[in-house]
Protein backbone atom coordinates (compact mmCIF):
# COMPACT_ATOMS: atom_id res chain seq x y z
CA UNK A 1 0.00 0.00 0.00
CA UNK A 2 1.19 3.52 -0.89
CA UNK A 3 4.36 2.34 -2.59
CA UNK A 4 3.47 2.55 -6.31
CA UNK A 5 5.78 4.98 -8.08
CA UNK A 6 3.33 5.26 -10.92
CA UNK A 7 0.66 6.54 -8.54
CA UNK A 8 2.87 9.16 -6.93
CA UNK A 9 3.58 10.43 -10.41
CA UNK A 10 -0.03 10.43 -11.60
CA UNK A 11 -1.27 12.22 -8.50
CA UNK A 12 1.37 14.92 -8.28
CA UNK A 13 2.16 15.53 -11.94
CA UNK A 14 -0.79 17.75 -12.99
CA UNK A 15 -0.34 20.19 -10.12
CA UNK A 16 3.42 20.27 -10.26
CA UNK A 17 3.38 20.74 -14.03
CA UNK A 18 1.05 23.72 -13.70
CA UNK A 19 3.35 25.23 -11.07
CA UNK A 20 6.35 24.51 -13.26
CA UNK A 21 4.93 26.30 -16.28
CA UNK A 22 3.12 29.20 -14.63
CA UNK A 23 5.15 29.87 -11.46
CA UNK A 24 8.75 28.70 -11.90
CA UNK A 25 9.21 29.13 -15.63
CA UNK A 26 8.04 32.79 -15.63
CA UNK A 27 10.56 33.49 -12.89
CA UNK A 28 13.44 32.32 -15.08
CA UNK A 29 11.88 33.95 -18.11
CA UNK A 30 11.68 37.25 -16.25
CA UNK A 31 15.34 37.00 -15.27
CA UNK A 32 16.26 36.18 -18.87
CA UNK A 33 14.19 39.05 -20.29
CA UNK A 34 15.89 41.53 -17.97
CA UNK A 35 19.03 41.33 -20.11
CA UNK A 36 17.21 42.54 -23.23
CA UNK A 37 15.74 45.78 -24.44
CA UNK A 38 12.28 44.98 -25.75
CA UNK A 39 8.80 46.43 -25.93
CA UNK A 40 5.39 44.84 -25.55
CA UNK A 41 4.45 44.81 -29.22
CA UNK A 42 7.77 44.33 -30.98
CA UNK A 43 9.14 40.92 -31.87
CA UNK A 44 12.82 41.88 -31.64
CA UNK A 45 14.91 41.93 -28.52
CA UNK A 46 18.28 43.64 -28.21
CA UNK A 47 20.80 42.23 -25.77
CA UNK A 48 21.90 44.87 -23.27
CA UNK A 49 23.70 42.77 -20.66
CA UNK A 50 23.65 44.18 -17.15
CA UNK A 51 22.72 47.68 -18.31
CA UNK A 52 19.32 47.59 -16.60
CA UNK A 53 20.83 46.33 -13.37
CA UNK A 54 23.34 49.17 -13.38
CA UNK A 55 20.46 51.51 -13.97
CA UNK A 56 18.65 50.15 -10.91
CA UNK A 57 21.39 51.56 -8.72
CA UNK A 58 21.36 55.03 -10.26
CA UNK A 59 17.65 55.51 -10.89
CA UNK A 60 16.36 58.03 -8.31
CA UNK A 61 12.84 56.63 -8.70
CA UNK A 62 13.99 53.22 -7.49
CA UNK A 63 15.36 54.84 -4.36
CA UNK A 64 12.15 56.83 -3.90
CA UNK A 65 10.05 53.69 -4.35
CA UNK A 66 12.24 51.72 -1.97
CA UNK A 67 11.88 54.48 0.63
CA UNK A 68 8.11 54.28 0.31
CA UNK A 69 8.20 50.51 0.73
CA UNK A 70 10.34 50.89 3.85
CA UNK A 71 7.99 53.53 5.26
CA UNK A 72 5.14 51.14 4.50
CA UNK A 73 6.94 48.34 6.33
CA UNK A 74 7.72 50.53 9.33
CA UNK A 75 4.15 51.73 9.82
CA UNK A 76 2.71 48.30 9.08
CA UNK A 77 4.82 46.61 11.75
CA UNK A 78 4.09 49.35 14.25
CA UNK A 79 0.33 49.44 13.63
CA UNK A 80 -0.51 45.89 12.67
CA UNK A 81 1.80 44.03 15.04
CA UNK A 82 1.78 46.69 17.77
CA UNK A 83 -1.86 47.74 17.86
CA UNK A 84 -2.95 44.25 16.73
CA UNK A 85 -1.23 42.66 19.73
CA UNK A 86 -2.57 45.20 22.21
CA UNK A 87 -6.12 44.82 20.89
CA UNK A 88 -5.84 41.03 21.07
CA UNK A 89 -4.55 41.14 24.65
CA UNK A 90 -7.31 43.54 25.71
CA UNK A 91 -10.04 41.40 24.13
CA UNK A 92 -8.66 38.28 25.79
CA UNK A 93 -8.38 39.96 29.19
CA UNK A 94 -10.75 38.53 31.79
CA UNK A 95 -13.96 40.50 31.84
CA UNK A 96 -13.39 41.96 28.37
CA UNK A 97 -13.99 38.50 26.94
CA UNK A 98 -17.73 38.95 26.97
CA UNK A 99 -17.39 41.66 24.33
CA UNK A 100 -14.82 39.77 22.31
CA UNK A 101 -17.01 38.23 19.59
CA UNK A 102 -18.48 41.55 18.52
CA UNK A 103 -15.21 43.47 18.39
CA UNK A 104 -13.23 40.63 16.83
CA UNK A 105 -15.80 40.19 14.06
CA UNK A 106 -16.00 43.94 13.43
CA UNK A 107 -12.27 44.59 13.35
CA UNK A 108 -11.71 41.74 10.92
CA UNK A 109 -14.34 42.75 8.34
CA UNK A 110 -12.12 45.08 6.23
CA UNK A 111 -9.52 42.39 5.61
CA UNK A 112 -12.06 40.16 3.88
CA UNK A 113 -12.91 42.86 1.32
CA UNK A 114 -10.87 43.34 -1.83
CA UNK A 115 -8.12 45.95 -1.61
CA UNK A 116 -9.54 47.43 -4.80
CA UNK A 117 -12.94 48.04 -3.23
CA UNK A 118 -11.32 49.37 -0.04
CA UNK A 119 -9.01 51.57 -2.09
CA UNK A 120 -11.87 53.03 -4.15
CA UNK A 121 -13.97 53.51 -1.02
CA UNK A 122 -11.20 55.55 0.59
CA UNK A 123 -10.50 57.34 -2.68
CA UNK A 124 -14.00 58.75 -2.30
CA UNK A 125 -13.74 59.13 1.48
CA UNK A 126 -10.62 61.30 1.07
CA UNK A 127 -12.21 63.36 -1.71
CA UNK A 128 -12.41 67.01 -0.55
CA UNK A 129 -15.79 67.51 -2.28
CA UNK A 130 -17.79 64.47 -1.23
CA UNK A 131 -15.57 62.64 1.26
CA UNK A 132 -16.00 62.01 4.96
CA UNK A 133 -12.46 62.60 6.21
CA UNK A 134 -12.47 66.40 6.06
CA UNK A 135 -16.00 66.81 7.46
CA UNK A 136 -15.00 64.51 10.31
CA UNK A 137 -11.96 66.63 11.12
CA UNK A 138 -14.18 69.73 11.12
CA UNK A 139 -16.69 68.02 13.38
CA UNK A 140 -14.08 67.26 16.04
CA UNK A 141 -12.53 70.72 15.83
CA UNK A 142 -9.50 69.84 13.75
CA UNK A 143 -10.84 71.57 10.64
CA UNK A 144 -7.56 73.36 9.99
CA UNK A 145 -5.96 70.01 9.15
CA UNK A 146 -8.43 69.35 6.32
CA UNK A 147 -6.55 68.62 3.11
CA UNK A 148 -6.70 67.14 -0.35
CA UNK A 149 -5.28 63.96 1.13
CA UNK A 150 -4.49 61.97 -2.01
CA UNK A 151 -3.91 64.98 -4.23
CA UNK A 152 -1.14 66.61 -2.24
CA UNK A 153 2.37 65.23 -2.39
CA UNK A 154 2.83 65.90 1.33
CA UNK A 155 -0.04 63.76 2.53
CA UNK A 156 -0.60 61.17 -0.22
CA UNK A 157 1.79 58.48 1.04
CA UNK A 158 0.56 58.75 4.61
CA UNK A 159 -3.04 58.60 3.45
CA UNK A 160 -2.40 55.43 1.44
CA UNK A 161 -0.48 53.78 4.30
CA UNK A 162 -3.32 54.61 6.67
CA UNK A 163 -5.79 52.70 4.49
CA UNK A 164 -3.60 49.60 4.58
CA UNK A 165 -3.45 49.73 8.37
CA UNK A 166 -7.19 50.26 8.55
CA UNK A 167 -7.68 47.15 6.45
CA UNK A 168 -5.15 44.80 8.04
CA UNK A 169 -4.94 45.45 11.79
CA UNK A 170 -7.92 43.14 12.37
CA UNK A 171 -6.30 40.27 10.53
CA UNK A 172 -3.05 40.40 12.50
CA UNK A 173 -5.07 40.87 15.69
CA UNK A 174 -6.86 37.62 14.93
CA UNK A 175 -3.55 35.74 14.67
CA UNK A 176 -2.57 37.14 18.08
CA UNK A 177 -5.92 36.22 19.63
CA UNK A 178 -5.45 32.59 18.61
CA UNK A 179 -1.89 32.63 20.00
CA UNK A 180 -3.03 34.10 23.33
CA UNK A 181 -5.82 31.52 23.59
CA UNK A 182 -3.16 28.81 23.54
CA UNK A 183 -1.60 30.18 26.74
CA UNK A 184 -2.50 28.04 29.75
CA UNK A 185 -5.11 29.80 31.92
CA UNK A 186 -3.36 28.65 35.10
CA UNK A 187 -0.44 30.99 34.34
CA UNK A 188 -2.77 33.97 34.49
CA UNK A 189 -4.44 32.62 37.60
CA UNK A 190 -1.21 32.34 39.54
CA UNK A 191 -0.19 35.80 38.32
CA UNK A 192 -3.50 37.06 39.69
CA UNK A 193 -2.75 35.51 43.08
CA UNK A 194 0.59 37.29 43.05
CA UNK A 195 -1.34 40.51 42.47
CA UNK A 196 -0.27 41.22 38.90
CA UNK A 197 -2.32 43.82 37.03
CA UNK A 198 -3.28 43.90 33.36
CA UNK A 199 -0.23 45.82 32.20
CA UNK A 200 2.15 43.51 34.06
CA UNK A 201 0.31 40.52 32.63
CA UNK A 202 0.78 41.92 29.16
CA UNK A 203 4.54 42.50 29.41
CA UNK A 204 5.50 39.54 31.59
CA UNK A 205 3.18 36.82 30.31
CA UNK A 206 1.56 37.65 26.97
CA UNK A 207 4.53 39.19 25.14
CA UNK A 208 7.10 36.49 26.06
CA UNK A 209 4.65 33.65 25.33
CA UNK A 210 3.52 34.88 21.92
CA UNK A 211 7.06 35.75 20.85
CA UNK A 212 6.94 33.33 17.91
CA UNK A 213 3.70 34.85 16.64
CA UNK A 214 5.22 38.32 16.95
CA UNK A 215 8.10 37.18 14.77
CA UNK A 216 5.86 35.55 12.16
CA UNK A 217 3.44 38.49 11.95
CA UNK A 218 6.33 40.95 11.71
CA UNK A 219 7.75 39.08 8.75
CA UNK A 220 4.32 38.72 7.12
CA UNK A 221 3.64 42.45 7.39
CA UNK A 222 7.08 43.37 6.04
CA UNK A 223 6.58 41.01 3.10
CA UNK A 224 3.19 42.61 2.50
CA UNK A 225 4.77 46.06 2.57
CA UNK A 226 7.25 45.16 -0.17
CA UNK A 227 4.49 43.74 -2.37
CA UNK A 228 2.20 46.78 -2.17
CA UNK A 229 0.57 47.39 -5.53
CA UNK A 230 -3.24 47.53 -5.67
CA UNK A 231 -3.87 50.16 -3.02
CA UNK A 232 -1.38 52.58 -4.57
CA UNK A 233 -2.53 51.85 -8.12
CA UNK A 234 -6.17 52.35 -7.19
CA UNK A 235 -5.85 55.43 -4.99
CA UNK A 236 -3.05 57.50 -6.50
CA UNK A 237 -1.56 55.57 -9.42
CA UNK A 238 1.86 56.36 -7.90
CA UNK A 239 1.33 60.11 -7.98
CA UNK A 240 1.26 62.96 -7.40
CA UNK A 241 4.66 63.27 -9.03
CA UNK A 242 5.83 59.75 -8.08
CA UNK A 243 5.50 60.52 -4.35
CA UNK A 244 3.58 57.29 -3.69
CA UNK A 245 5.43 55.07 -6.14
CA UNK A 246 6.36 51.65 -4.73
CA UNK A 247 8.60 49.01 -6.30
CA UNK A 248 5.64 47.08 -7.68
CA UNK A 249 3.85 50.12 -9.13
CA UNK A 250 7.12 51.35 -10.61
CA UNK A 251 7.66 47.92 -12.17
CA UNK A 252 4.19 48.18 -13.71
CA UNK A 253 4.87 51.72 -14.91
CA UNK A 254 8.20 50.78 -16.46
CA UNK A 255 6.60 47.90 -18.35
CA UNK A 256 3.17 49.06 -19.38
CA UNK A 257 3.43 52.86 -19.37
CA UNK A 258 7.03 53.48 -20.47
CA UNK A 259 7.14 50.27 -22.51
CA UNK A 260 10.54 49.26 -21.19
CA UNK A 261 9.77 45.60 -20.55
CA UNK A 262 13.40 44.67 -19.93
CA UNK A 263 13.84 47.28 -17.24
CA UNK A 264 10.55 46.22 -15.72
CA UNK A 265 11.91 42.65 -15.47
CA UNK A 266 15.05 43.93 -13.76
CA UNK A 267 12.87 45.63 -11.16
CA UNK A 268 11.02 42.32 -10.79
CA UNK A 269 14.36 40.65 -9.99
CA UNK A 270 15.01 43.25 -7.30
CA UNK A 271 11.59 42.58 -5.75
CA UNK A 272 12.26 38.85 -5.97
CA UNK A 273 15.54 39.08 -4.07
CA UNK A 274 14.03 41.21 -1.31
CA UNK A 275 11.06 38.87 -0.92
CA UNK A 276 13.24 35.76 -1.04
CA UNK A 277 15.28 36.87 1.96
CA UNK A 278 12.15 37.78 3.90
CA UNK A 279 10.36 34.54 3.03
CA UNK A 280 13.36 32.49 4.14
CA UNK A 281 12.99 34.13 7.55
CA UNK A 282 9.31 33.25 7.58
CA UNK A 283 9.95 29.62 6.64
CA UNK A 284 12.53 29.34 9.38
CA UNK A 285 10.03 30.71 11.86
CA UNK A 286 7.11 28.53 10.77
CA UNK A 287 8.83 25.16 11.06
CA UNK A 288 8.37 24.13 7.42
CA UNK A 289 12.07 23.42 7.04
CA UNK A 290 11.83 20.98 9.93
CA UNK A 291 9.26 19.04 7.88
CA UNK A 292 11.68 18.79 4.96
CA UNK A 293 14.36 17.31 7.19
CA UNK A 294 11.88 14.83 8.60
CA UNK A 295 10.81 13.74 5.15
CA UNK A 296 14.37 13.23 4.05
CA UNK A 297 14.87 10.95 7.02
CA UNK A 298 11.67 9.06 6.28
CA UNK A 299 12.50 8.39 2.66
CA UNK A 300 16.00 7.11 3.37
Amino acid sequence: MYKSKKETFLFTFPGLLLMGIFVYFPLFLSFFYSFFKWSAFSTTKTFVGFAYYKRLFTDPLILAALKNNVAYAFWSVLCQCGIGLVLAAVLEYGRMRKYETFFRTTFFVPSIISMTVIGLLWYFAYNPKIGIVNPLLKAIGLGKYAADWLGSSKTAMGAVIFVSQWQNIGYIMLLFIVAIQKIDDSIFESALIDGANGVQNFFHIVVPLVKDTILVTTVITIIGAFRVFSEVYVMTGGGPGHTTETLATYMYRAGFRNDEMGYSCAIATLIFVILLVLTMLQMKGSGNLESVRQMKKESE
Binding site: N201, A268, M283
Partner: protein, 278 residues
Protein backbone atom coordinates in the same frame (compact mmCIF):
# COMPACT_ATOMS: atom_id res chain seq x y z
CA UNK B 1 -7.11 35.78 31.78
CA UNK B 2 -9.11 36.38 34.91
CA UNK B 3 -9.39 39.71 36.62
CA UNK B 4 -10.33 40.95 40.06
CA UNK B 5 -13.95 40.43 40.98
CA UNK B 6 -14.82 44.07 41.21
CA UNK B 7 -17.94 45.34 39.53
CA UNK B 8 -17.62 47.45 36.40
CA UNK B 9 -14.06 48.69 36.72
CA UNK B 10 -12.59 51.93 35.41
CA UNK B 11 -10.18 49.89 33.30
CA UNK B 12 -13.03 48.08 31.63
CA UNK B 13 -14.83 51.37 30.97
CA UNK B 14 -11.83 53.04 29.35
CA UNK B 15 -11.09 49.97 27.25
CA UNK B 16 -14.67 49.77 26.07
CA UNK B 17 -14.54 53.38 24.93
CA UNK B 18 -11.28 52.86 23.05
CA UNK B 19 -12.56 49.66 21.41
CA UNK B 20 -15.81 51.36 20.45
CA UNK B 21 -14.03 54.31 18.87
CA UNK B 22 -11.95 51.91 16.82
CA UNK B 23 -15.05 49.87 15.89
CA UNK B 24 -16.69 53.06 14.60
CA UNK B 25 -13.53 53.90 12.61
CA UNK B 26 -13.80 50.50 10.96
CA UNK B 27 -17.55 50.42 10.42
CA UNK B 28 -18.38 54.00 9.53
CA UNK B 29 -16.66 54.11 6.11
CA UNK B 30 -18.40 50.84 5.19
CA UNK B 31 -21.70 52.22 6.45
CA UNK B 32 -21.13 55.39 4.41
CA UNK B 33 -20.52 53.25 1.33
CA UNK B 34 -23.73 51.26 1.71
CA UNK B 35 -25.83 54.34 2.58
CA UNK B 36 -24.19 56.35 -0.20
CA UNK B 37 -25.58 53.81 -2.63
CA UNK B 38 -29.09 54.87 -1.63
CA UNK B 39 -28.50 58.61 -1.84
CA UNK B 40 -28.80 60.85 -4.85
CA UNK B 41 -25.67 62.58 -6.06
CA UNK B 42 -26.95 65.85 -4.66
CA UNK B 43 -27.39 64.31 -1.22
CA UNK B 44 -23.86 62.90 -1.21
CA UNK B 45 -22.54 66.27 -2.21
CA UNK B 46 -24.73 68.29 0.11
CA UNK B 47 -24.85 66.69 3.53
CA UNK B 48 -22.22 64.17 4.53
CA UNK B 49 -23.91 62.84 7.65
CA UNK B 50 -27.56 62.77 6.58
CA UNK B 51 -29.45 59.60 5.73
CA UNK B 52 -30.94 59.33 2.24
CA UNK B 53 -34.36 60.90 1.79
CA UNK B 54 -35.75 57.77 0.15
CA UNK B 55 -34.54 54.18 0.21
CA UNK B 56 -34.69 53.52 -3.51
CA UNK B 57 -32.66 50.67 -4.99
CA UNK B 58 -32.34 52.59 -8.27
CA UNK B 59 -28.58 53.23 -7.94
CA UNK B 60 -27.95 49.57 -7.22
CA UNK B 61 -30.01 48.57 -10.25
CA UNK B 62 -28.18 51.10 -12.42
CA UNK B 63 -24.79 49.90 -11.22
CA UNK B 64 -25.74 46.30 -11.98
CA UNK B 65 -27.04 47.22 -15.43
CA UNK B 66 -24.10 49.35 -16.62
CA UNK B 67 -21.52 46.65 -15.96
CA UNK B 68 -21.36 45.39 -12.41
CA UNK B 69 -23.65 42.51 -13.41
CA UNK B 70 -21.25 41.33 -16.12
CA UNK B 71 -18.20 41.78 -13.90
CA UNK B 72 -19.94 39.94 -11.11
CA UNK B 73 -20.71 36.94 -13.32
CA UNK B 74 -17.13 36.90 -14.64
CA UNK B 75 -15.84 36.87 -11.07
CA UNK B 76 -18.19 34.02 -10.20
CA UNK B 77 -17.06 31.92 -13.18
CA UNK B 78 -13.33 32.58 -12.67
CA UNK B 79 -13.48 32.12 -8.89
CA UNK B 80 -15.47 28.88 -8.98
CA UNK B 81 -13.42 27.24 -11.75
CA UNK B 82 -10.07 28.19 -10.25
CA UNK B 83 -11.19 27.06 -6.79
CA UNK B 84 -12.26 23.61 -8.03
CA UNK B 85 -8.96 23.15 -9.90
CA UNK B 86 -6.90 24.38 -6.96
CA UNK B 87 -8.55 22.13 -4.39
CA UNK B 88 -8.43 19.05 -6.60
CA UNK B 89 -4.81 19.38 -7.78
CA UNK B 90 -3.53 20.44 -4.37
CA UNK B 91 -5.40 17.64 -2.57
CA UNK B 92 -3.81 15.02 -4.84
CA UNK B 93 -0.32 16.33 -4.08
CA UNK B 94 -1.10 16.63 -0.37
CA UNK B 95 -2.42 13.06 -0.33
CA UNK B 96 0.81 11.69 -1.83
CA UNK B 97 2.94 13.76 0.56
CA UNK B 98 0.92 12.55 3.54
CA UNK B 99 0.84 8.85 2.64
CA UNK B 100 3.52 7.70 0.22
CA UNK B 101 7.17 7.01 0.89
CA UNK B 102 9.30 7.56 -2.16
CA UNK B 103 12.69 8.84 -3.06
CA UNK B 104 11.62 12.16 -4.57
CA UNK B 105 9.31 13.05 -1.71
CA UNK B 106 11.47 15.73 -0.13
CA UNK B 107 12.20 17.13 -3.59
CA UNK B 108 8.46 17.37 -4.27
CA UNK B 109 7.98 19.05 -0.92
CA UNK B 110 10.71 21.60 -1.58
CA UNK B 111 9.29 22.30 -5.05
CA UNK B 112 5.90 23.09 -3.52
CA UNK B 113 7.43 25.06 -0.64
CA UNK B 114 9.48 27.07 -3.13
CA UNK B 115 6.29 27.99 -4.94
CA UNK B 116 5.15 29.78 -1.79
CA UNK B 117 8.22 31.98 -1.93
CA UNK B 118 7.51 33.25 -5.41
CA UNK B 119 5.09 36.11 -5.37
CA UNK B 120 2.93 36.96 -8.38
CA UNK B 121 4.49 40.43 -8.73
CA UNK B 122 7.79 38.93 -9.79
CA UNK B 123 6.23 36.94 -12.66
CA UNK B 124 3.88 39.65 -13.92
CA UNK B 125 5.71 40.74 -17.07
CA UNK B 126 6.95 37.31 -18.14
CA UNK B 127 3.54 35.70 -17.54
CA UNK B 128 1.94 38.41 -19.65
CA UNK B 129 4.32 37.57 -22.48
CA UNK B 130 3.89 33.82 -21.96
CA UNK B 131 0.10 34.02 -21.98
CA UNK B 132 0.22 36.00 -25.21
CA UNK B 133 2.44 33.42 -26.84
CA UNK B 134 0.22 30.49 -25.91
CA UNK B 135 -2.87 32.49 -26.96
CA UNK B 136 -4.52 32.53 -23.55
CA UNK B 137 -4.10 36.28 -23.10
CA UNK B 138 -7.45 38.07 -22.74
CA UNK B 139 -9.42 34.88 -22.05
CA UNK B 140 -10.81 33.67 -18.72
CA UNK B 141 -8.10 30.99 -18.71
CA UNK B 142 -5.50 33.76 -18.42
CA UNK B 143 -6.81 34.24 -14.89
CA UNK B 144 -7.97 30.74 -13.96
CA UNK B 145 -4.68 28.98 -14.72
CA UNK B 146 -2.23 31.40 -13.05
CA UNK B 147 -4.56 31.78 -10.06
CA UNK B 148 -4.59 28.00 -9.65
CA UNK B 149 -0.84 27.60 -10.13
CA UNK B 150 -0.01 30.27 -7.54
CA UNK B 151 -2.56 28.97 -5.05
CA UNK B 152 -1.51 25.29 -5.15
CA UNK B 153 1.43 25.60 -2.69
CA UNK B 154 -0.43 27.08 0.27
CA UNK B 155 -3.40 24.79 -0.41
CA UNK B 156 -1.13 21.73 -0.37
CA UNK B 157 0.17 22.77 3.04
CA UNK B 158 -3.25 23.31 4.52
CA UNK B 159 -4.46 19.88 3.40
CA UNK B 160 -1.22 17.97 3.97
CA UNK B 161 -1.23 19.01 7.64
CA UNK B 162 -4.72 17.50 7.93
CA UNK B 163 -4.32 14.38 5.77
CA UNK B 164 -1.31 13.09 7.67
CA UNK B 165 -3.32 13.03 10.89
CA UNK B 166 -6.12 10.90 9.40
CA UNK B 167 -6.19 7.30 10.73
CA UNK B 168 -4.74 5.02 8.08
CA UNK B 169 -6.66 1.90 9.24
CA UNK B 170 -9.86 2.91 7.45
CA UNK B 171 -7.99 3.13 4.18
CA UNK B 172 -6.32 -0.23 4.79
CA UNK B 173 -9.65 -2.03 5.04
CA UNK B 174 -10.90 -0.27 1.91
CA UNK B 175 -7.91 -1.63 -0.02
CA UNK B 176 -8.71 -5.11 1.34
CA UNK B 177 -12.15 -4.74 -0.19
CA UNK B 178 -10.47 -4.08 -3.52
CA UNK B 179 -10.83 -0.32 -3.77
CA UNK B 180 -8.44 1.52 -6.11
CA UNK B 181 -6.12 4.24 -4.83
CA UNK B 182 -8.08 6.95 -6.60
CA UNK B 183 -11.26 5.44 -5.19
CA UNK B 184 -9.86 5.68 -1.67
CA UNK B 185 -8.73 9.25 -2.28
CA UNK B 186 -12.02 10.33 -3.82
CA UNK B 187 -14.50 8.39 -1.69
CA UNK B 188 -12.72 8.27 1.67
CA UNK B 189 -9.90 10.76 2.16
CA UNK B 190 -11.70 13.77 0.67
CA UNK B 191 -15.04 13.15 2.42
CA UNK B 192 -13.26 12.55 5.74
CA UNK B 193 -11.43 15.85 5.28
CA UNK B 194 -14.45 18.03 4.63
CA UNK B 195 -13.45 20.73 7.15
CA UNK B 196 -10.02 21.32 5.68
CA UNK B 197 -11.28 21.08 2.11
CA UNK B 198 -13.89 23.73 2.96
CA UNK B 199 -11.29 25.97 4.55
CA UNK B 200 -8.86 25.62 1.65
CA UNK B 201 -11.59 26.30 -0.89
CA UNK B 202 -12.88 29.34 1.01
CA UNK B 203 -9.46 30.95 1.39
CA UNK B 204 -8.70 30.31 -2.28
CA UNK B 205 -12.05 31.72 -3.38
CA UNK B 206 -11.63 34.90 -1.33
CA UNK B 207 -8.17 35.32 -2.79
CA UNK B 208 -9.41 34.89 -6.38
CA UNK B 209 -12.46 37.09 -5.91
CA UNK B 210 -10.30 39.95 -4.65
CA UNK B 211 -7.32 39.58 -7.01
CA UNK B 212 -6.43 42.73 -8.91
CA UNK B 213 -3.00 42.75 -10.50
CA UNK B 214 -3.26 39.72 -12.80
CA UNK B 215 -6.71 40.85 -13.85
CA UNK B 216 -5.34 44.28 -14.69
CA UNK B 217 -2.62 42.92 -16.96
CA UNK B 218 -3.98 39.67 -18.43
CA UNK B 219 -7.48 40.82 -19.42
CA UNK B 220 -8.19 43.54 -21.93
CA UNK B 221 -11.83 43.19 -22.97
CA UNK B 222 -14.32 44.91 -20.74
CA UNK B 223 -16.77 42.00 -21.05
CA UNK B 224 -14.25 39.58 -19.49
CA UNK B 225 -13.19 41.76 -16.57
CA UNK B 226 -13.70 40.61 -13.00
CA UNK B 227 -15.19 42.80 -10.28
CA UNK B 228 -12.07 44.59 -9.00
CA UNK B 229 -11.05 45.53 -12.55
CA UNK B 230 -14.57 46.40 -13.54
CA UNK B 231 -14.84 48.82 -10.64
CA UNK B 232 -11.68 50.57 -11.80
CA UNK B 233 -13.26 50.79 -15.25
CA UNK B 234 -16.40 52.33 -13.83
CA UNK B 235 -14.40 54.85 -11.84
CA UNK B 236 -13.15 56.25 -15.14
CA UNK B 237 -16.51 55.98 -16.90
CA UNK B 238 -18.80 57.34 -14.23
CA UNK B 239 -16.48 60.17 -13.22
CA UNK B 240 -18.73 62.05 -10.81
CA UNK B 241 -21.70 59.71 -10.55
CA UNK B 242 -20.70 58.86 -7.00
CA UNK B 243 -23.96 57.31 -5.89
CA UNK B 244 -23.88 54.62 -8.56
CA UNK B 245 -20.18 54.04 -7.92
CA UNK B 246 -20.73 53.55 -4.18
CA UNK B 247 -23.57 51.10 -4.81
CA UNK B 248 -21.29 49.19 -7.21
CA UNK B 249 -18.65 48.97 -4.48
CA UNK B 250 -21.24 47.67 -2.05
CA UNK B 251 -22.31 44.96 -4.50
CA UNK B 252 -18.64 43.96 -4.93
CA UNK B 253 -17.95 43.71 -1.20
CA UNK B 254 -21.19 42.01 -0.20
CA UNK B 255 -20.46 38.38 -1.24
CA UNK B 256 -17.24 38.28 0.81
CA UNK B 257 -18.89 39.81 3.87
CA UNK B 258 -21.67 37.21 3.67
CA UNK B 259 -19.16 34.38 3.24
CA UNK B 260 -17.23 35.69 6.22
CA UNK B 261 -20.25 35.86 8.49
CA UNK B 262 -21.37 32.33 7.56
CA UNK B 263 -17.96 30.61 7.57
CA UNK B 264 -16.08 32.56 10.25
CA UNK B 265 -14.87 29.44 12.07
CA UNK B 266 -13.45 27.69 9.01
CA UNK B 267 -11.68 30.87 7.91
CA UNK B 268 -10.02 31.55 11.23
CA UNK B 269 -8.76 27.98 11.46
CA UNK B 270 -7.32 28.10 7.96
CA UNK B 271 -5.59 31.41 8.50
CA UNK B 272 -3.84 30.06 11.56
CA UNK B 273 -2.48 27.01 9.79
CA UNK B 274 -1.44 29.07 6.80
CA UNK B 275 -0.34 32.22 8.60
CA UNK B 276 -0.23 33.59 5.10
CA UNK B 277 -2.75 36.15 4.13
CA UNK B 278 -5.61 34.67 2.08
Amino acid sequence: MKSHRKKFSLFEFIMLIILSVYAITVLYPLFWMVIGGFKTNKEIFGNTWALPSSWSLQNYKDAWRIGVGTYFMNSVIVTLTATVFTVLLAAMIAFVLARYRYRLKSATFIFVLGGMMLSPEVCLISLYKLLQQIHLYNTRWALIIPYTAFRIPISVFLMWAYFKELPIEVEESAYMDGCSTFGVFWRMVLPMSKPVVATTALLAAINFWNEFMFGLVFIESSELKTIPLGMMNLKGQLATNWAVMLSGLTISALPMIIVYIIFQKQLVRGMMVGSVKG
